[in-house]
Symmetry: D2
Subunit: 251 residues, 4 copies
């Protein structure tokens, strides 16, 4: 797989001998990339400068074939860091969606961890499998088709991430599946979902959650003309982050 | 080590048999925590509810003994994700400062990666060593005293993070030390430093960088009274993120 | 009245012959200000530089004796401009609170307009009267004690501003009191109040409202060290702004 | 003049008997608006609901025929309020640009104040004259063609607003033209312009200025689905706001 940057746009392509990649800035022969050092400069048939790299995990995230809304690097980076998801962690995810978040989780738990990801729509799970394979992360992921609100057999997860519309229905299942001390993060588009989730959470053994929005402000930096970008992403979603406390009743 | 949350405040303490931890909400006996399950609830001598956890890497970050300004989870999470710093990566950092960023990098490259961190003030490097040991991450870190702008002998880093006042002086050293395709991120408080860095970067083999600020908006969520927090952190710093391109001149 | 700026802090004082104004940066004799040109520089008894001005309306706003939360220049400026409140306009306000918003409205409708302001707590109305007199704006304001949700006798207002906790209860009264084409703005701290207000508004003759937050980011500008302020006001309230449409049923 | 809202889009049209206004949502006969009450509901030929209002000053601002970048309500409202621009004020503006800011200033100083606006490009001044006439504000405005950095004959302005690329060249002229105690506001797109202006300002009799950005976050409010808008305007410009202090040297 190669990340190709043409002017300001990035593409991820699967390199094949003899193949040609066409863009509206001209085409590139895969053979001009295969075997070359990373970061090599080349030119399209229309003489536009181009660079080829191995894709980073954030590149895969932004180039996923989507069936649902995207998860943004700004939100994912914050979640992964706040939850401490690193090598060896056992992570539960629901729902899988396009598998973008799944890929990122798999990348961070490698080489010894595991991501178990539930999705109730089989066709989404199938599409996610393709995306995850494309990033060569399939060995770290177990994709399951099912509705976690009905309970799941797995236990002792270090972390859990919920990215589905009614997470309040899953809190019982999550409580059982998560280790005591484990981290839970929930991604939600509307403030109503946030309120409903946080209020329901009071009935379960969790610390008072942190609720945040992560905003990214891009800058256009030029000698003597530096200013923020005119356009900005105003909203992606809210993050609810907490840890499971020890539950004496042994739920 | 234990993270103790009393009301809304978090403390990291080194557990010792028979020791007592005093706060303005009353004291806690370490023996009440030792051997207990993670997330256990206890009460201070003044009957305030308290929970004890293993500290997460983000807890260590916010509780470091500081000699310099802090690096915030919002900035760190974004950097780590955008640069793809995970298990096995070889990372260069300068300067070490309090070692907070060093700890986070070590945590993400474990168990097989390595962080090489330069600091020109020996007393800072020493303080950082203490902080890193406290988090049991010392085996993943090589602390060096020196000024990287004068060149360093190490080569082939996957990633480099600069958190020092005049990064433009280090770009030559970084170019040599970083792999082709490797990621570079720079943390800078003022917009003048950003402009100077970005302009100077044009002379070196790097992609046009992404320049961003990460802003966190916290919410106070209550049934029928949900609103953003009245206070907000308005600024920590700017992030400049790029990748090294292949340099035909072989610098 | 004079606005006195000592170092970075502003005070509004009523000038009196022979009086002395004490601060923790030293004292100033009123006689050193009386009769002097506007913007005159003087020094406190502790030799701190000081400037004296006539207060602007925004100075009065920030120096009001408060009985309620403050209305911020950022929110007020946006409201006044979006509603087109200028000389001659007839404005309805509820509730009066500390009278800060009332003062600003009076200032903008002068010399020929009128502000009619309702407040159901008589002691608040009394305190507001003092604040408004201090700014010499009492001739433009009619303060009334009462609950507008029960209906008011006045009609044909150009604009209406609601700054009270349950504005949805006042929409019927406002609809009757406002001219067709007139502007309505509502200031609300929580997102729940916003949703409830906007949903209820659908039952009344108003355009789909604009709902916004106004955020101010302050900058610390210094040669070669320019950056945003570290602290920021994260939230004051939401603004709901609309116009009354012609109601054929003649409510 | 009428403001016509069709679906979510606003248009300003000059009403003429027998004329027809065409849009991509169908056409409207002017005769259906003329003589009707404000806020009247009508339907386009394609049966789309439409409302007709008298345009507010903020509507004129957003519908000006542009020759330069727009001045936004968020910035204008803040400026007008912080400077206390109301009925009777004498205001200096440079440059006139499209006349959008000029119109807003004229609206707020009416009926007795005056706006004197300089523009060095005659064709811009001419276009501004059209826009200002369209809003019937021409009696309150004196448009002048010239470069204020070379000095102007007018004196004793209450307020001055600069919206031109090199305001530091105008500070001497502004100092002479502005009353002691008068307010000065400067609108600037880049942070470099801000720094240069603020540093130069130290040589002139002005208070340490306030430097801010005004950001507007729009919300999409729906029952049980309330969230911020996905898109946001990330930047328009920086505002530098100060007051002239008394200058003993009598510049």
């Amino acid at each position: 797989m190669a990340l190709v940057r043409i002017i300001k746009k990035d593409f991820i392509i699967r390199l094949e001998k003899g193949a040609i990649f066409h863009t509206n800035k001209g085409y590139i022969c895969h053979d001009d990339i295969i075997g070359k050092p990373e970061g090599v400069k080349l030119f399209t048939s229309l003489n536009k400068p181009t660079w080829a790299f191995r894709p980073l995990i954030s590149d895969f995230l932004m180039n996923v074939k989507r069936v649902t809304t995207i998860t943004y690097p700004k939100d994912l980076g914050y979640l992964i860091f706040k939850m401490g998801i690193n090598s060896g962690k056992k992570v539960l995810e629901a729902g899988t969606g396009s598998g973008a978040l799944t890929m990122a989780l798999a990348y961070y738990v490698s080489p010894d961890g595991k991501v178990c990801s539930y999705e109730k729509r089989p066709e989404f799970s199938e599409k996610a499998r393709e995306n995850i394979s494309r990033a060569c992360l399939e060995d770290l992921v177990e994709l399951k088709v099912g509705d976690i609100s009905r309970g799941i057999p797995e236990r002792d997860f270090d972390c859990c991430i919920l990215d589905l519309p009614e997470p309040w229905k899953c809190l019982k299942s999550v409580t059982r599946a998560l280790k005591s001390g484990g981290s839970l993060a929930i991604f939600l588009p509307s403030v109503n979902q946030v309120e409903r989730t946080v209020v329901k959470m009071l009935e379960f053994p969790f610390l008072k959650p942190e609720v945040v929005e992560v905003l990214i402000r891009k800058w256009d930096v030029k000698k003597n003309a530096t200013r923020p970008d005119f356009q900005m992403i105003g909203h992606t979603g809210f993050l609810v982050i907490t840890r499971k406390i020890f539950d004496e009743s042994g739920v």
